[in-house]
Symmetry: C2
Subunit: 336 residues, 2 copies
């Protein structure tokens, strides 16, 4: 129990608990009694609290994400920070960028901060080559590591993820079964989750025994905010003669670009082009028409990840992998 | 100089610097020499670094924001964290929510963590009543406080902000001078910056000696992500007989709702309705047509704020207030 819990139980502010513990006169006797009763009940001595206000027990957990201004990662950081705080832990945030070296540096910095654990937010931390993930394996010998939406088989590493393979496969199957066989798959990350989604797309074609044109798999190189760049990119593909009647995107931003592409070319959505995004973010509502998108239940994932983390820190036996399902939220860009 | 600087100067990873300092054999002699030369040059002894890897000098700065998943606040946190890290400081992140008590609690928690400074991100930390800002005044007696986009006259408090009053005034003047005199002002926050923007709107009417219909000032109570709620809200105003030929919004999300309102009612943008947002975020590009919006140069503000913070921590004399100007970025929802 920390100062946060005491303040909640007593129904007073943390500043008030702090005043009680410091022996300040500026507290009503009734309030003082309420706070002291709770402290007594849980067997704490006020002196132990007064020294540093007991916050020596409020330890720190490192959070690394590539870019905390990314819509999806920002939400994850928000949920994780809130859950950690409720459990009496501080969050030390570090934004690593997407480059291998900067990710490795950020993790080293955090490990050297004597944080109790490190939470790595986003699948971009796991790369396709094992060699490039060795920095995480090494770090895990010192501190437990918790991965959100990424998978690594390694002692002291715990993974909480959405089954992106299956969610993408299901979305692709729905499109194939509605008669659309030329689905453009658009992605912008070769991360673990990026590769899972791509495999899901491919496997849907395999399951229906429909040959998949390799040119329908397209990687967008531009920035993660460049919706207009996506539109240009798709216009370029059309000019080269590529035809497609659906866009299945690994991220909502790419889907928003696809909607803009359709508009500028007078392509009717969803009759002539279906569009499916991923993450079910605010962009899907801002866009017109609103974009059908896979919801991977980020809030649930984050809350589960923090539960696993707290369990590990309390010495409990926790499962190294927890996997949730995603779900297509149907809006106006599909007829499914 | 910390481990981060050494790694940068030597052109090697932090893990490598760490290995050199720990006397690991797994380092090339040339690399070891390069790292040691830099450490010698700056007068540090490797032993001081080896103990905790010198990270005792990498101190922590608290960052509070109401909601790190808000598009605008997330970007601010991202810029601030990066700038702090470059200067050898860690970021302890706390998301406080928008309620007074939870803001006060979050600040108390951070102050009790022995952070070197607290950065409060977003104008929602300053309320209209002085009484409600006393928790910041009190905290500033213990730790320097840095406010982004908020204003408080108080020793040990430093403010970096955009002149939201003037930016909103200029946008309103442009609309008035183009002949639109029924500008709906739509806002969703009564924070310091929220009040500045509203005053800017009102003052534009005063300057042109045009009477301003009070009903044109509308507060949206819904959530900060409820674009469809904004659309409903505006439809309700229209049904009540309120006419307006422009929407000036205190936030892009509100402007995105206004665009959706226009579409559903077959109102032509910008010929029958002009729309101006605030923050120039990704939503302005996702929307169709793209939304004209005030850019308040967030990246510059954040970099300046961190400079002020580092200066204060180094004992330099720093100005208590730094004010930048905003600028209207014209896109497709205005004819100005």
């Amino acid at each position: 129990m920390n100062i946060y819990d005491i303040s909640k139980q007593a129904g007073v502010s943390i500043a008030t608990v702090s005043r009680v513990l410091n022996g300040s006169h500026n507290v009503k006797p009734a309030t003082r009694k309420k706070v002291m009763d709770i402290i007594d009940q849980y067997g704490y001595t006020p002196n132990a609290f007064a020294r540093g206000l007991g916050l020596d027990t409020m330890n720190s957990i490192g959070i690394i994400c590539a870019d905390s201004s990314d819509l999806y990662l920002a939400k994850a950081v928000y949920y994780i920070e809130g859950n950690l705080r409720k459990n009496g832990y501080n969050s030390v945030l570090m934004c690593s960028g997407y480059e291998h070296d900067s990710k490795e540096n950020a993790l080293s910095l955090l490990i050297n901060q004597r944080v109790d654990a490190v939470i790595m937010v986003g699948s971009n931390y796991i790369e396709a080559e094992d060699e490039n993930n060795r920095y995480i394996v090494n770090a895990a010998t010192q501190t437990p590591i918790f991965l959100l939406n990424a998978n690594l088989d390694c002692p002291n590493v715990f993974c909480t993820m959405c089954d992106d393979f299956r969610a993408t496969q299901e979305a692709a199957l729905l499109l194939l079964d509605s008669g659309i066989t030329d689905i453009l798959y658009l992605y912008n990350s070769r991360s673990y989750s990026g590769m899972q989604k791509l495999s899901g797309y491919r496997s849907a074609y395999d399951m229906r025994e429909i040959p998949c044109n390799r040119e329908l798999i397209q990687f967008f190189e531009g920035s993660r905010e460049d919706i207009d760049g996506v539109r240009h990119f798709l216009c370029g593909l059309r000019e080269q003669g590529l035809t497609f009647h659906a866009v299945l995107a690994s991220e909502d931003m790419l889907a928003a670009g696809a909607v803009k592409y359709a508009k500028i070319n007078n392509i009717a959505i969803p009759d002539e082009l279906s569009v499916i995004g991923y993450n079910n973010s605010l962009l899907t509502v801002c866009s017109d028409p609103e974009i059908s998108s896979v919801d991977n239940h980020l809030e649930t994932l984050c809350s589960r990840l923090v539960k696993t983390c707290i369990g590990v820190l309390n010495g409990e036996e926790m499962p190294p992998k927890v996997i949730y399902s995603g779900e297509l939220v149907r809006k106006a860009t599909t007829n499914l």
